[in-house]
Every structure is written in C-alpha cells, then in structure tokens.
Symmetry: C2
Subunit: 348 residues, 2 copies
C-alpha cells in the first residue's frame, strides 16, 4: 500500500540501510549511490515514516510549544518567533523539525496533559511560554513532569516564565516587576497620586510580579497602597472595562489607571470614555507588553515593551541546541518603558 524504505531500496538497488543513511545524512555514502537513492525517493514519492523512525531512533523531531492563549498575540508573537528558529540544522531527517503549538487555555490539567502527550511522542524539546500558575500542588506536579521529560532527554526551555528549580530547565524570564515599577514610577513622577490598578488573575505568576513592581514604586514615592485601588480580573479587554467601572465607583476622582496588559488597558479606555472622561486630560492610562495594536490606540498607549519576538527566537535557538544557554540556566529579559500619549500630568 504505502511506499516504504524497502521499496526505495529495491528501486535504487541498494540495501535499506543505505537508504536510511542517505536520508539521515549523518553517515558517509558514495555520491553516486546517494543520487540513485534520492532519485528513487522522488520517483516513488516516498515519505519517511515518522513513528517508525522515532521508535527505532528513540527520539523524534517534534518540538512542543505551550501557550496559555493562542488567540492572544502576546503568545502568538512568541510562538511564531520560536517556530521560526526551528528550521535549519539540528534536526534529524533533513533538518526539519515539526514545531507544534499547544494551547492550554491556562488550564492546569491541560498543561499537564499536553506535556504527557509530548512525552509520549518523545519530543526533542518543549518550550513553555508565559506566566505559570501560582498553585503549589500544580507547580509540584509540573516540576515532577518536567523532571521526567528532562530525564527522557527532552530539552526544556521556559520563555517569559519563572524558572523551575531542579529540573534543568533553561529559563528566559521577563522582568515584570521591574517593568511594573518603572511604569508606575512614570505616573507618580507626573504627579499622579490616585492610581487605580487592574491586576490580572490572582493565580498567575505574571500578575503578582507586575503588581509587586507597582507597589514597589508606590512605596518608593511614599504613596499609600490602598487595597481598594486594586481590582483583579482576566487578561482581556472586557475585564479592563468592568474593572475600570468598579475602580471609578470606588473613587470617582481617580487620575490614572494602570492595567495588567494592553488589552485590559483598551477596555479601560473604553469604560473611561463611556463615562465622559478624556484620556489623558482627565485620566491617564497605561498598559503592559506593547502589542502591535497599542500604538494605534487613541491616544497611543503608554506601556512597557517586552521583546517577545527576540526572546522567543532565543528560546527557539536554545531549544534547538543552536545557542548556548545563559550562565546558570537563567536569564532575565528586561522590558522598556514606552511613554506615549495616554499618560500626562493630572489636572491641578
């Protein structure tokens, strides 16, 4: 039925072993023989059987990329960058690796399920992106699972995600706290004292880190951190919309809103506008991440740019074994404050 390596061998009048060697290219083969084999491959339209190959070699060409939300460009940009590094040398069977993106939807059990599925496929590497879950039980399960994957020879890289000790995983972590601090310091420097903060979901590490930076800045300026000025939500615009209404209810004289990310900031803008408040004349708004649409917001959004594409590309190269991991296995990626039109001094 389907063409096998043996068929190719017969046609090229060599042994199956020789065909295998030609295809994998990691063994000396006479040029004339190679040509004959390649010709037979083309004529027969032969495609290597991945499972059989992986079984015999005890490794595969699969590389998994785990993302929390594939519909969010934050993850899409990173995933695209990671995937773009997957070609080139490093893989078996022609150097092409199958980089696959797995959407966990932020659900802990799906995260573990995908890791099991990738372990089952004997993935060559796994890249986990974005914030992790704070839950201790889940973190323990993840640590165990990652440890087993690593033991089985799968390379583990974390991109924009906190390091997981004792697993040998390489971590490129984002300096969320530093970015958050700078952002809030920028607003405080403009003279704002009544800042609302829209945090992400409590259970994500990213949320805590950004909030921590915000609080550090408040402390540095000697501004009291009123817990009523912080609202938790999800990382989407709807959440920003609702949270902003709630913040305004608690303090109608708010002069600035700091959002967990850019989508949330957009929702905040919508809510403020609906309440007849101008941005930034009445209320300043700041986001985080600097996704492509942020510059098109009206007014353009002040935010913290994270080098998502660069970090993703680096993670991809490390996963492919084409770049040395950072010393100690951990590198911190800093964000950059982008001051644009959505923030200004408060009204006197």
């Amino acid at each position: 039925m389907t063409v096998t390596l043996a068929d190719v061998a017969a046609r090229a009048r060599v042994s199956p072993a020789t065909v295998s060697r030609v295809l994998n290219g990691n063994y000396p083969v006479a040029a004339s023989t190679r040509e004959r084999v390649l010709k037979a491959v083309a004529e027969l339209d032969y495609v290597l059987n991945g499972p059989a190959s992986a079984l015999a070699a005890a490794t595969s060409d699969l590389v998994g990329i785990l993302v929390n939300d594939i519909a969010d460009p934050f993850f899409g940009i990173m995933a695209g960058a990671i995937q773009s590094e997957m070609g080139g040398p490093g893989g078996r069977a022609g150097g092409e690796r199958l980089a696959v993106v797995c959407n966990t939807g932020g659900a802990p059990e799906r995260e573990l399920t995908y890791l099991t599925l990738l372990q089952r496929q004997r993935a060559a590497a796994v890249v986990l992106t974005g914030g992790a879950l704070e839950d201790a039980a889940h973190q323990a399960a993840m640590t165990a699972k990652l440890g087993r994957l690593a033991d089985a020879g799968t390379r583990i890289v974390l991109c924009g995600r906190p390091a997981v000790p004792e697993t040998g995983a390489i971590a490129l972590t984002f300096d969320n706290a530093g970015g958050g601090r700078e952002l809030t310091a920028h607003l405080l420097g403009l003279g704002h004292r009544r800042l609302g903060y829209i945090a992400g979901p409590r259970e994500r590490t990213t949320t805590g880190q950004r909030l921590e930076g915000h609080r550090a800045a408040l402390a540095a300026y000697g501004v009291e951190d009123d817990p009523r000025r912080t609202v938790h939500g999800r990382y989407d615009r709807r959440s920003g919309y609702e949270a902003t209404l709630e913040l305004l209810r608690r303090d109608p004289a708010l002069t600035a809103v700091v959002a967990a990310n850019d989508s949330v900031a957009l929702g905040a803008c919508a809510a403020l506008r609906e309440r007849g408040l101008r941005i930034p004349e009445d209320v300043s708004v700041a986001g985080f991440d600097d996704l492509p649409f942020s510059i098109d917001a009206v007014p353009a959004l002040t935010t913290v740019r994270l080098p998502l594409a660069e970090a993703g590309a680096r993670a991809g190269r490390i996963a492919m074994g084409r770049e040395e991991p950072p010393p100690g296995g951990i590198a911190t990626v800093r964000g950059e404050l982008m001051v644009r039109a959505s923030t200004a001094p408060p009204r006197p």
Copy 2:
C-alpha cells in the same frame, strides 16, 4: 531504562495485550483487571510510547492545524477553537489528541513542508485555515499533496479557505465576496462615491474575493471602478497606514476607505488622523473580520464579522469525525455587517 508496556504487564501480572487494551479503552476488559493495570501504570509512572503505538496501529493521535500567521488573532481565534474540540471521544489512547498548530508564515514551501512533516507523522487529520495562494503551480502541488494525505487516511478540512476539488477535502469557506459587497454597498448607500480600497496581497485568494465583492457593489450602484482607487498591501496595520497615504496622494478628496481587514483599517485610521482628517466626519473607514480590538478602535470600526470561533469549532469536530461533513463536502460561512461609528454619510 524507561518503563515499557511489558513492565506494566509484569507488575500487574497480565499480558502486554491486556495492558494495551486497558490503555486504549476500546476493548472489553474486566473491571478488576483494569484496576490492577491502572494501578501498575500509576506506580510505574508509565507513559505510552507514541511512536511505537502509532507504528503498530498505523495511525497517530496527531492533528495538524496550518495557519498563515500565528501572531494574527484572525488565525489564533480559529486555531484555538479547532483545538478546543480535540478533546473528548474519537481519539485513541484516552481520547486525547495532540492538536498542533503549524505556522507557515504564508510561505508556499513551508506549507508543503509542514504537510510532509504531518504526513510523515501519519497525522489523523489536518485543518488548513485562511486564504490560499493563487499561484497555479503551488496549487497543483498542494492538490497532489492533499490527495496523497487523504489516500493515507488523513482527514482534510479547510476552514476559511477555498475548496480544493478532487481531494476529498471538506471545505468551510468564508463568503468573502458577499461580505465585501455588503460593506461597500453600505458606504455607497450612505452616499459615498469616492472610495479608496486597500486590498491584501495579490497572491492570496481572500484578497481577490473581497475585492470582487467590492467591485460588485460599485457596479450595482453604477459607480465607476477607477483602478487608481485600489492599492495592494499586506494584511497588517503598517500596510494600511502606507496605503492610505498613497490613496490620499492620488485623491485628496477621498470620502471613504475600505480596508482588507481590521488591522489594515487601524493603520488607515492612524494615517488619516495624522493628516488631520476626522473619522468619520471627513473620511469613513471600514474593516473586515471584526477581531476583538475592532470595537475598541476610536471610533469603533464598521466591519464584517466572520464567525471565526464557530467555524473553527465546526472544522475541529469534522476533523475529529464527530460531526457530519456538509452535503457535497462544502459549506459557505457568511459574514455579518457590523455598522459602527467609523462610517457615516460624506460631507455635503
């Protein structure tokens, strides 16, 4: 070294075959036996070897999802919806399928490479999303490749992509032409006669279809289709920005801009604003797709909503064999005109 099925069998004191049956669940096994096996699996921390399993069964749990640009929510939303349907019954080995997203970046050779990789993995199904390439040679190559995949038992589903005859592929196509027609008709109905059109890349089918709808509307209203009023670009905001400047250069008295999609429309808005033109008082702007950020544009964007999530979910179910394909293997998914604040009658 690694735990195998035989180890589990030994520990549970049953035959390997029985373990396999328990794990795959598609065969009657006594409850007590099943329990014993499951216990052994847990104790040994056993994970099925995917390649071996796929080799023996001649099919795998892999489902491929091809997207043109993973950083674009247009694709992210569809991919997420497709993937969300992958759990549940239908798969082997516990019903979980590994749905993997492959980012082609719109490059023809990467599209074919990924299909080969998926063919190599003996993927159970492949879903191709978004516009195809107009290039005849590439289409022929794709048809051949898809035909071979189908022959090998891989189910092929096209989502938001034109049907490919003679491959047995199921197609859920978007009515881009109809949406484009409605959109332009809406502007013409408001009284606009000097419309600029920012088309996508020439080589994508989506581009041609939307443009066709635009022209049909012009014809229906007896408005001349001046080719100088159409500019081609990419599907991103930058392209919309540049194209708009070009359109204004060609006709400074333009009263409306129709964009290939929402991102392009955002870029158009930025350019218009920079030129001191108000939206919609001076110039109306319309987009396409209705991505989540479109409603947050200022003013909110008039656009054509495509039911991306619904179509993706349906494609996913069909790929899983959990929903009947549409009669004839082809279904057309219509868009819905969303009239918002970015369009208004032209100034007298």
